[in-house]
């Protein structure tokens, strides 16, 4: 096989008519990608799948903590502040809490002020009455089962004789209040008429209490909020930091995290995190190895091209570079399409499961780029040893 006479344009035979004047590396590359469209497409699909899977899992993984902490909000408050004396926290405690918490960097903080007093019913039984901000409670304590929330009540409506305040009555307390609609409670000689607006069921201490609007409570007892229930999302360390900054803001108060919630939350999040990490590794490995197998098989299949080019005078290094660049171009294209598809998949999974969106994370691009390039490079180099030992003449003869 003496092809020496055609050395001026070594690859013109392979690229078909019309014969080009000069053969450049990029031209061979373009030809190779376009000419074998089916094969390039299947390699692109494989690398797109690997990039998409990696993107979806990494995006979910990156957003997992925020999502899980958000889920744990349904447990309600995780920090409780108790005022040092009956004087309470005074004016604007919510703003002070929000300001103190803001210094630790929390975005969403929920605060519900409460105040408690032991009053007596008409029949002389003691009952705990709590002043509460019902709007805050509704946001914070998701698990309260309430048949009807009390309407808004304004103390300023009738200064002389205020209308009966609407009350939310715990299901146990309800059994001890005589009338089903109107009750009068007494605290330190002052009476307050209440209109029962709804019933509350929690299975906890709340069942034995009567909740009334804070404004009515303060007007009746002269007490302001003595307990602040605060919810800050985040890890145990962030909750600790928040406790410290709240303690700084309210020096005399007792600031305590609800320990079982904080510990349980970080434990479950750690576990889920580890599980997710294992899943990401496992799936990435599976897809990576399968894609590697597919790609290297398809390169191995091109032994004949390889032999021909070698026979036409291409050096081994030159040809490997060609395969490598070809694989890298496909890998890059795979990263682009895979990132789009994977981000969409992560968005869909988040929306379906957590009912909140997960936006694409640009920071995962370097990782998937690295992954795809590694797979493509390995797929190009893996057959190199097989190809090196090839005898072009033997192969071209048709063995």
């Amino acid at each position: 096989m003496s092809e020496d006479s055609h050395l001026e344009s070594p690859f013109s035979a392979a690229s078909g008519p019309p014969p080009p004047a000069t053969v450049t590396f990029s031209r061979i590359l373009r030809r190779s990608l376009v000419h074998r469209r089916a094969r390039s497409l299947s390699a692109l699909t494989a690398l797109t799948v690997s990039a998409a899977v990696a993107t979806a899992l990494l995006t979910l993984y990156a957003d997992l903590d925020a999502k899980l902490h958000h889920t744990f909000r349904s447990f309600g408050a995780n920090i409780v502040l108790t005022a040092p004396s009956d004087a309470g926290f005074g004016a604007q405690p919510i703003a002070r809490v929000e300001q103190a918490v803001g210094t630790v960097g929390h975005q969403e903080v929920l605060v519900a002020p409460f105040s408690y007093a032991v009053a007596t019913t008409e029949s002389g039984r003691p009952v705990v009455v709590a002043g509460a901000d019902f709007d805050a409670v509704r946001r914070l304590d998701d698990w309260w089962q309430v048949d009807a929330w009390p309407p808004a009540w304004f103390a300023a409506q009738a200064p002389a004789v205020p209308p009966p305040a609407p009350a939310l009555v715990g299901q146990r307390a309800a059994q001890f209040l005589g009338d089903a609609h109107n009750v009068t409670l007494t605290f330190a000689g002052h009476t307050i008429p209440l209109q029962i607006a709804g019933h509350l069921r929690t299975g906890g201490d709340e069942d034995s209490r009567v909740y009334i609007p804070m404004a009515a409570f303060t007007r009746w007892t002269g007490l302001s909020a003595t307990v602040l229930e605060v919810q800050v999302p985040g890890s145990a360390a962030r909750v600790e930091a928040t406790v410290a900054s709240l303690q700084h803001e309210f020096p005399g108060a007792r600031v305590e995290p609800i320990r079982q919630l904080v510990e349980g939350e970080s434990r479950i999040i750690d576990r889920t995190h580890a599980l997710m990490y294992a899943a990401v590794l496992l799936i990435a490995l599976t897809v990576g190895v399968s894609v590697l197998a597919t790609l290297s098989a398809s390169i191995l299949e091109r032994r004949r091209d390889f032999a021909l080019m070698k026979a036409l005078g291409g050096s081994h290094r030159h040809l490997m570079a060609l395969f490598l660049v070809e694989a890298l171009v496909i890998a890059l294209a795979g990263v682009v399409t895979g990132f789009v598809i994977g981000s969409a998949a992560a968005f869909a999974i988040s929306e379906l499961n957590f009912h909140t969106a997960t936006l694409p994370y640009v920071s995962v691009i370097p990782i998937i780029l690295l992954l795809n390039v590694a797979i493509a490079a390995a797929a190009a180099f893996f057959p190199a040893r097989v190809l090196r030992s090839l005898q072009p003449a033997a192969l071209l003869r048709g063995d």
């Binding site: 494989a46 979806a56 299975g203 034995s208 305590e256 576990r271 599980l275 997710m276 897809v287 190895v289």
Partner: protein, 450 residues
């Protein structure tokens, strides 16, 4: 002839078969592991969630109203009704007995104790303090060791829980106030009838440990239940029982009022492990009791359980999809490589159908082999991961983990599912390439410049 071809193909083309086989194997491993984790994640997370405490609380029906603020009794109720400790044994035989993973009864006695006094004393000027009677590591039924420490896994104890009637554990705040440590003593006066004017010596209790709970219990004394029953002169009495039970998340049926259901719906409701129906079942079995689900724990657990297992299922689905893609691509490549072989067979007169059959048989055999191995590898991997990640899941739910043990590693339902999926993917993945190969003209293929 057919079997010989099949056999030869496996023996001669070991590299190619290995490639496709490894792809199926890894895919099956990943899918099995993910599915095995997704199916058991509910139980695992549930036992993790038990750190939040009991999800059902039982109190006496005729009790006075609690006057509690921040976990502390403001006005001790008098003349209260009690539950009977001996009735708790009935919980072993109720319909939902197997779902109960922990029971913690308590009896609170208001007493005047003297801390850090080393000898028996007739001095009644102690400080008013709540003494809580509890179970400590009580064996209940034959497989369950339960009590207050098991249900309150966030309690931190320095020392030991009481094992004898005259031993006591002191809350950390109380211990700090009176500078007492494990090994010190507490005197608690015995019960005296209201008119009794005698000045009796108060017995001495040994402190076996200091407990930190992070709530009002830090200011209390923790004693064995039987001891507080004596102190209160109410044998067998219990003022409250906390129960931890395995429940299923609420759905539309659980939110309906059971009293207004039709008999048929009520039966369905009763036979589902909702917190409500378990509470109703407990209430029926304990006379004079009122059982309530603790909504803060129960409702939030349901949400978290849903989210985490939902996430795992969706990721399993993603794994399935990705593994399916990867495996079918590998299968397609494996067949494309063999176009020359197909051409040769056709030129020798083989029917298209028998060639297709041969290739499908190869793919099927490979899928069954690699799928089965993948199933075992994946199950092992899932068990290993589960054990590693959820290691030291503590005392939670001993009953279930006991029952789940043989099923935990190899879930027999997954085997046919995984092998079936592997078959479907392998055959589905090879179909386009087999068809493409058969469509080609044998002579072109054999000239091999296609």
């Amino acid at each position: 002839m057919f079997f010989r071809l099949l056999l030869e193909s496996f023996v001669r083309q070991r590299r190619r078969k290995l490639l496709a086989g490894v792809a199926i194997l890894l895919g099956a491993t990943a899918v099995t592991a993910m599915l095995a984790i997704a199916t058991t994640i509910g139980d695992r997370i549930h036992s993790e969630l038990s750190v939040f405490g009991a999800n059902i609380v039982v109190t006496p029906k005729a009790a006075n109203l609690d006057v509690k603020i921040g976990g502390a009794d403001i006005q001790p109720a008098t003349g209260n009704a009690y539950l009977h400790e001996s009735d708790l044994a009935k919980l072993q035989t109720i319909f939902w007995a197997n779902n109960i993973t922990g029971i913690s009864p308590e009896l609170i006695v208001h007493t005047d104790a003297t801390l850090n006094q080393h000898s028996a004393s007739t001095d009644r000027q102690g400080i008013p303090v709540d003494a809580v009677g509890l179970w400590f590591d009580r064996s209940f039924a034959n497989h369950l060791t339960t009590g207050a420490p098991e249900l309150h896994s966030w309690w931190k104890l320095e020392g030991k829980w009481p094992a004898e009637p005259h031993q006591v554990v002191v809350g950390s705040a109380l211990a700090a106030r009176f500078h007492v440590h494990a090994g010190d003593f507490v005197t608690i006066p015995n019960y005296q009838a209201p008119g009794d004017q005698r000045n009796l010596a108060a017995p001495v209790y040994t402190i076996t440990g200091i407990v930190s709970t992070g709530d009002a219990t830090d200011n209390k004394l923790l004693l064995p239940l039987a001891t507080t029953q004596q102190l209160n002169n109410t044998p067998d009495a219990v003022s409250r029982v906390e129960i931890s039970a395995i429940t299923m998340p609420e759905d539309a049926l659980a939110r309906r009022n059971p009293d207004t259901m039709s008999p048929k719906d009520h039966e369905i409701w009763y036979c589902r492990a909702y917190a409500n129906s378990i509470a109703a079942n407990i209430q029926e079995s304990l006379p004079g009791s009122d059982a309530q689900q603790v909504r803060r724990v129960e409702q939030s657990e349901g949400v978290i359980l849903d989210r985490i297992s939902g996430l795992m299922w969706l990721i399993s689905a993603a794994a399935l999809l990705a593994a399916g893609f990867a495996v079918s691509a590998a299968m397609a490549t494996a067949i494309l490589e063999r176009q020359a072989e197909i051409g040769l067979m056709r030129s020798l007169g083989a029917a298209k159908s028998s060639i297709a059959l041969l290739f499908y048989a190869e793919a099927g055999l490979l899928a069954i082999l690699a799928g089965s191995i993948g199933y075992f590898l994946g199950s092992g991997l899932a068990a290993w991961l589960g054990a590693r990640i959820f290691a030291g899941a503590a005392t939670a739910a001993p009953a279930t983990s006991h029952l789940m043990e043989p099923l935990a590693i190899f879930n027999p339902v997954l085997l046919p599912a995984v092998v079936g999926l592997a078959l479907a993917v392998a055959i589905g993945g090879s179909t386009p390439s087999i068809r493409a190969a058969l469509r080609l003209d044998p002579s072109t293929v054999l000239r091999s410049d296609a």
